[in-house]
Symmetry: C2
Subunit: 251 residues, 2 copies
């Protein structure tokens, strides 16, 4: 389970505000950012409580609280006697966290492939501006991607992206890497919402998804925040016969 311990504990708070939030919260935020941005990989070892105490000159209980809460939130895992580690990505996954369709397909043992139908930059329309919480003249990206599992369409993805927060979105090749992966490192998600409903897609969409016009689809509209700004809004269309959403909850 163990790897090596990250080094730079000094100046750990360098790129974070040092006034408003309590110590434990800032430590949580700093660690969560390392994990969300991929700088710390799953199963990698996190500095021990004693190391944090020495490096940051804070009480062990303060460090303990930060690590304990991150563990409760599924960011870290801890093992008595061993240490603290970055959690596996969807270990005890929260609800309905199908953010990366490529991983989802791979985890089922399927072959994943994508076609990029559209990717262009422009100014936001009124509807898009409302969706993203920005002004209408602000730059955005629009992309349409069709995702395949074993050469059968599994998801049609229409996405609008805030170009200020993710400036390199237009330079990505989404047949190689899903938007989710790029967006997570460009502007790590802190919050999100989704709206799920059953719909009958229009003729063009049925054509793309290779389904009959009477086949119902799961439509998921999702918006994700980074801090207090909306990074992206997406509409995901899944053929009902090829896709189910699974969720698990406790307490």
């Amino acid at each position: 389970m163990a790897d090596s311990t990250p080094s730079l504990l000094d100046n750990f708070f360098s790129d974070l505000p040092d006034t408003p939030a309590p110590i434990y919260a800032r430590l949580k935020q700093a660690i969560a950012h390392k994990v969300a941005s991929g700088q710390w990989q799953p199963n990698q070892r996190v500095p021990s409580e004693a190391e944090w105490v020495k490096a940051l000159n804070v009480s062990r209980m303060t460090v303990n609280r930060a690590l304990r809460e991150l563990t409760a939130e599924g960011v870290l895992t801890r093992q008595q006697g061993l240490g603290t580690f970055v959690a596996q990505k969807k270990a005890h996954s929260a609800l309905f966290e199908v953010h990366n369709i490529a991983e989802e397909v791979a985890s089922r043992g399927g072959v994943y492939r994508a076609e990029q139908l559209q990717l262009l930059r422009g100014k936001a329309t009124v509807e898009e501006a409302v969706n993203l919480g920005i002004r209408t003249n602000q730059e955005i990206f629009r992309s349409v991607i069709l995702h395949f599992e074993n050469d059968l369409p599994i998801q049609l993805e229409e996405r609008t992206v805030n170009a200020v927060l993710a400036p390199d979105y237009g330079a990505q090749d989404f047949t190689r890497q899903t938007p989710y992966v790029y967006l997570m490192q460009a502007a790590p998600m802190t919050e999100g919402e989704h709206l799920v409903e059953a719909v009958l897609p229009n003729e063009r969409e049925c054509d793309l998804l290779q389904i009959s016009e009477s086949e119902p689809c799961l439509q998921i509209k999702r918006r994700t925040w980074s801090g207090d700004q909306i990074v992206t809004a997406a509409r995901l269309l899944h053929p009902g016969s090829r896709f189910q959403l699974f969720g698990h909850f406790s307490r």
Copy 2:
């Protein structure tokens, strides 16, 4: 916001094991049970940290941890200077927690009504036994209920219930109280899972839901645990034109 403070702090742990779990965990469990079973109502005041300290003769930090974690889990809400209170049921609700359709309808300002189409006791079939994780000769209840919002069908609910865990299920009147409410006090839910998909219902179901046969529906299959036993398995059918699932997530 404040009500009156519950009295019996003595013997609070009376009906709980007193050996294995740490103090803070037992306190959490005891409070969560009071809330889940409805003995403590939303917005009702919970004893202050100081009161718990005096009553249980434990450290304030221990009580603080229990209350703080229950707050993070959405069971309680706290306000500095004021006190600790039982949280509103779906305050910052977890994901897709549409457990009680009556509340859902009411929160939208709609008029709720239900028709009980079936309610009978019997022995579990093979499929039902597998679903509930029991043996095939064990007693179960089966119920079919149609829920209305403003006199339009909003949910068709087929439910199987473990009769051992919820023995009085058959005596309930589900036109007055949803199964969820009874089941929560009979065997408080600790875990659950759901499977969401888009389907086209059969002729009878379309008839009941008053929709055309080409209208897609959201189908939710849900199982809920109490401890390590499955209490109930339900299949919920929602007309796509009248129902959406909304979820919100953080971190």
